[in-house]
Symmetry: C2
Subunit: 454 residues, 2 copies
Amino acid sequence: MNTLMTDILIIGAGPAGMVAAMTAVQYNPDKKVTVIKSYEKSQVPCGIPYVFGKTLGEVEKNAMVCGGGPIADMIEKITDTVQSVNIETKTAVASNHTIKFDKLIFATGSIPFVHQSFQSALNLENVFTINKEYHKVEQLKDHLLDKKKIIIIGTGFIGVELACELASNDKDVTIVGGGHILAGSFDEDMAVKAEEIMVNKGIKLALGQHANHIIEKDRLAAGIELCDGTIIAADVVLLATGYEPNTLLASRAGLKLARYNGIWVDEFMRTKNKDIFAVGDCSGRRDFITRDPSKVMLASTSAAEARVAGSSLYSIKHLKGFNGTIAIFSTMIGDRAFASAGVTEQRAKNEKIDYVSGFFEGINRHPGTIPDASKQSVKLIAMRESGRIIGGQVVGSKEAGEIINIIGLAIESELTLYSIISLQVATQPLLTSAPTTYPIIMAAQMALRNGKTS
Amino acid sequence: MNTLMTDILIIGAGPAGMVAAMTAVQYNPDKKVTVIKSYEKSQVPCGIPYVFGKTLGEVEKNAMVCGGGPIADMIEKITDTVQSVNIETKTAVASNHTIKFDKLIFATGSIPFVHQSFQSALNLENVFTINKEYHKVEQLKDHLLDKKKIIIIGTGFIGVELACELASNDKDVTIVGGGHILAGSFDEDMAVKAEEIMVNKGIKLALGQHANHIIEKDRLAAGIELCDGTIIAADVVLLATGYEPNTLLASRAGLKLARYNGIWVDEFMRTKNKDIFAVGDCSGRRDFITRDPSKVMLASTSAAEARVAGSSLYSIKHLKGFNGTIAIFSTMIGDRAFASAGVTEQRAKNEKIDYVSGFFEGINRHPGTIPDASKQSVKLIAMRESGRIIGGQVVGSKEAGEIINIIGLAIESELTLYSIISLQVATQPLLTSAPTTYPIIMAAQMALRNGKTS
């Protein structure tokens, strides 16, 4: 058993852990920063769906490359699994190491969430969760090689991305869920555009009702039964039903958990103990708009939290802490990018928010005769009285992935529709919509008009 | 001579005029809105370079389509040339119409600026400015058909875009200018990336000294002579040396002009007379950062001004007027997008601004093994003490055209580097850089670090 001393210990080397470590080094160049992780190799979490289709095609191509650069080189890296943490004595005990620390950051991530009705089926060798560990991804990819009929339960981003990738590899894919796909991030009008593309790719949609249970036959899953009794046969069943915070270590150490079991943290990602931090999927998140606990898990949110924690270890440097997740994300379905931030109209209704929305569909180049021109749709959602922007959805070509970041900045900066309508934007024939019809501005104008007449 | 009555008259139907008209209709649905323009057909101004190469290839494909939609249909359109405006009697006299108005918006645009030393050469039939009128673009395109050696004087966006398009059509192109290309928008470190691409496309760069004069022979331009005596032969000489406000009509009407001869306007685009507005290239612009008069001419800025004017005709609706141009624009050079907003480092130096800058070069997908991954560079410029962001430059794939709009929003919203470092962004393998290395955030971190150590 090696005994090590470090100033700052980070448990976990996913995006949250690595960004926390890099930031800690930058703000505290005189301190020793140590990262401990269970496995030598890890996967880029958001890249996992793409190893199953033509995009990456190989597990190796999705390896997370952490090293390189003078800052990364200043981080001590240990491969070992932490078994327990003693917060009083500031000691972490791993299988082969005992580590004394001054500051500790939990970045232990998340593990697949499996609904109770499917848990017994997890023993069957053709039922899988989408586990982020490197060797688990390899195992799943090997298993799928000679399989044809695949059922994916779950219509979140991972389920949808997996469905598209597997379909591109000639698999017969059925995706199953209780409502429209990506329902947490897109209203029905946007979701149906995505569903249409999926159907055109040959993916079968079994939407509108939940999977009731997994049918077992000869110690294998033979398919699933939906709530209405419909049976869908399958060679493999994939459970893409979300993730839950990996907080066993933290809760055993006596740390308080928040609702949904994330580690409770303040605005600066500190637990009740100001030397102990938690960042990423294992932390207890709040929603930016409602301030309620949030289940959203995103690597980019994790990175933002990690930057706040990494700069706040010894003292609070910036008053802006982490004000809750704006749930900003994007994906590709076919050749279309779908992106979302803040609340959807549906969620605004559920939350009883008095909102207005504006929608505009234009073209992403100008004039529309530019060879790669295609449709571009933007929806904005704002508070009816103040005009403050609280949500947005974008469907378009790849640049939609950055257009949502303009909307995200507007939400985080508490801007209103009034600032947006006279916004100065760069427009260029080969790169953007026309200056006269820039979609975020048009959607803002439309929202203001809708606010007046409704 | 027809005599017409209208509530709101707009002179000019470029981007500024059309957006002003559309906004005027939206805010004043009970008022009659009339647009008067000299020519039936017009060109998308920023699209003009692309009719000369393979991108559009035809003048017709760059026609500006104004009509369509219930709002556009509510605008009365007249084709005629206004000869004089009487502000006291609120009357505009055109060749075939006399129009009485209540509110007037000048949107008369800009005309090519030609340095005195080239003015006499304008009579030669193979010397052209880049005139935005439809038939002039046609004339130039026809003239270039059987010509090979083309000299472009001027290294702004139009000159550079024209050079790339003409080179793609197998022309022998030389571009001439006193410094690096696009020097107003990019620092040398970014400009050289663009120059390298142009050289690889076979474009000859004659940079570092100005063209002295155009050499005349047999009533044609035979080439140019540079300041050091070098002679470059040519079949055609194109003057892409900028534009100046088209304000003859306004000045004859007695309106005050600002420095650089734009029509003087307040923050709401009103002239000294609160019933008379000016928007677009004919208006006197100020710079967002320095508040000095600005020569920047951009259709997107024009559209922003037009939206302010169109909503302020009868009363000021929003306190946010037009706070000056942030000079935000983008272009493509080869397969790389170049985009810029606010001040460059060079300009910050010239203006004696105490600034810091941060630069980051990463990859626009993650992992870097994603098939269409390519380099992405971001530079941010901020006030040293407060960290307030005052400029940015981006080089990358097409999404750089929207990344600059994130930076533009940060500049306009007076955000600081401190807000940016914990910004929540959407990241996705197929669409953006990794969450751990999002380039705007990395550049902001770099700027903060540079601020400390310098």
